[in-house]
């Protein structure tokens, strides 16, 4: 079991963008301009989504300049990677310089940092089943160690046309609704109110069950993460934020804000996901 548990990881803000995409993709430029207050040149959908989510999270507030950025994505900037690969292998053209640079997923971190004046540490991190949890855990670890006092934790996933082909890429059923999404949280070491005190990984279900025994079922709801459809563990009350939501890889990142929007004061969500191979990840959100 690995864990990151701290006394202070207070939720300063959160922001989301989710849009189901089935035909013509939503034009993100006006949304980005309206959200950020200005256009950003020479970026594609992936970076635009990351910026929209981060701007909605910050709501015009200015985070400390040493705020760190932890960013996760299921598959990075599909749009620019597919464009570069088609140019190279199908059309026989070299990549455009900026397209090549933006194939690195941490380009999104750069634009978030630049847009909000941040110079703290910056990390793009992934894990097939636990992307959001890995980003959250590193942020909690840095907050606990005092390396940082403020963190932005976010995700972005885009859809690429043709959507039917993109469904295949994501191993989704032919009729599965797909979405584009970005979710961001702003955590600080000092504060009051809602918090994300804990994020842990478990090598087995037994390890997870042993830890879950310490939670009060009257004040704790089970957040139903990926792969948990038929498994309720010892908590009778559940929180389902995935039903009715289109599929995108970093859907777990939607859980904290979805819970915070609906929960009563003092309630805790214990969110659990599994990779389908017996490993689990869990985090808690306290309203």
């Amino acid at each position: 079991m690995t864990e990151a548990r701290i006394a202070g990881a207070y939720i300063k803000g959160w922001g989301d963008y989710v849009c189901e995409e089935g035909g013509e993709l939503t034009d993100l430029k006006p949304i980005l301009k309206a959200t950020l207050g200005q256009p950003v040149r020479r970026i594609g959908r992936f970076i635009s989504l990351a910026l929209i989510g981060a701007a909605r999270c910050l709501e015009g507030k200015t985070p400390p300049p040493d705020t760190a950025v932890y960013f996760t994505t299921g598959s990075g900037d599909f749009e620019v990677t597919v464009e570069v690969m088609e140019h190279l292998f199908r059309d026989g053209f070299p990549p455009k310089p900026l397209s090549f640079i933006n194939t690195v997923s941490n380009a999104a971190c750069f634009y978030v940092a630049k847009s909000f004046g941040l110079t703290g540490r910056s990390t793009c991190i992934g894990s097939r089943a636990f992307g959001f949890e890995t980003a959250l855990q590193l942020a909690l670890l840095d907050l606990k160690m005092g390396t940082i006092r403020s963190a932005l934790i976010g995700s972005a996933d885009i859809v690429l046309q043709p959507v039917a082909i993109h469904r295949q890429r994501l191993a989704q059923a032919p009729d599965a609704p797909l979405g584009e999404a970005a979710h961001w949280l702003w955590l600080t070491a000092d504060g009051e109110g809602g918090a994300l005190p804990d994020c842990r990984f478990f090598a087995s279900r037994e390890d997870l069950m042993a830890w879950m025994g310490g939670f009060d079922p009257d004040s704790t709801v089970l957040g139903l993460g990926e792969g948990l459809d038929d498994d309720r563990f010892s908590l009778s009350r559940t929180f389902d934020y995935r039903t009715g939501r289109p599929y995108y890889d970093s859907r777990t990142a939607a859980a904290p804000s979805a819970f915070l929007t609906q929960a009563g004061s003092g309630e805790t969500m214990l969110h659990v996901s599994t990779d389908g191979a017996g490993r689990y990840a869990a985090f808690t959100v306290r309203r």
Binding site: F89, I101, R121, C124
Partner: protein, 381 residues
Amino acid sequence: MRRAWFHGAGLHTSLGATLSDNLDALPAGPPPPGMTPVPLGDSVEAVPSMLLSGLPLEDVETRLWRALEPVVEAALAGSDLTPAQRARTALFLGTSSLDISVTEAIYAAALKTDPGAHPLMTNAAMGGLAEAIARRFGLRGPDYTINTACTSSANALIYADAMIREGLIDHALIVGLEIFNVITALGFQSLALLAPSGMRPFDAARAGLVLGEGVSALVIGATPGPSGFHLRAGANLCDTHGVSAANPDGSTVAAVMQQALDAAGLKAADILAVKAHGTASLLNDEAEAAGMHRVFAIVPPMLAIKPFIGHTFGACGLNELLLVCGAIERGCLPPVPGISAEPGELGLMLNQTWVPVGRGAFLLNYFGFGGNNTSLVVAND
């Protein structure tokens, strides 16, 4: 307070297929790069490169694993982990290009039978490769894929070290991986950043970089290892000057070096030697040199590893660290004769002879696209 000590390691670069082979090759000096032909439409582009020794650029779909498996096996074998420890070991994969070489080969093959084929139909998940490595080697701890361009595996080490210090894990396997791929090769070609004559960091004649391939693995653990080396501290900051170049005034480079020194509880004068990032590009060497002069009143001996193995991008953090630590364990800092032999316009000299070195602290720099700047302080005290 817990520390994370270096244990078993493996390394495969253009110099050799084992860490020992790599270290044995250093006395011969930086070898000349080769030129790798890369088909592009009806033409062929020649790309300066330093490919993995003994592993021709053939059967690309399996080549990544043929490179990776022996390196990881060597690191695990050198660490004496019990089966239970191995099962709990966390994996930190630091890479810029992941398994895009495999994805490219699959797409190129698909286009031969179907001109309308789509790319990225397999291997699309960023965490897929790490999960496969964990499964292949029986690791059931969490797996993390750090994708911060050329700082990836250096940042992977920082986080693995922090988790051990905090008692979250007892062992971590850090893997640096960069395998030749067309996107990277022709991407840097399109940026006009490649130098057919080899890498000459900080030199007046510097003309850019050479693509390097490298696979490295290091196990770190909470108990002392055979080498005595450990990460004393690390720092990572974001430089928003530009997405592909550090601030040329050196301020952001100096900031990350200073933060690493502060975290290590050291002064600049305590550093015995500096391993430069040294991409030999005009702007980034200018920024690194300016940063060095801001931090060091007297610049300690500087060495550069990229002339030996090329720029191994996301893997360079761990590749270069293993070569530096290994050379120090053998008692000397490796020279790059004839490269930055005199302090030129940037005012820096690189190490020109085999300089004996003892125990102490060493600073290693890494800077990447996306403004990602990282400095490590390693020590064998």
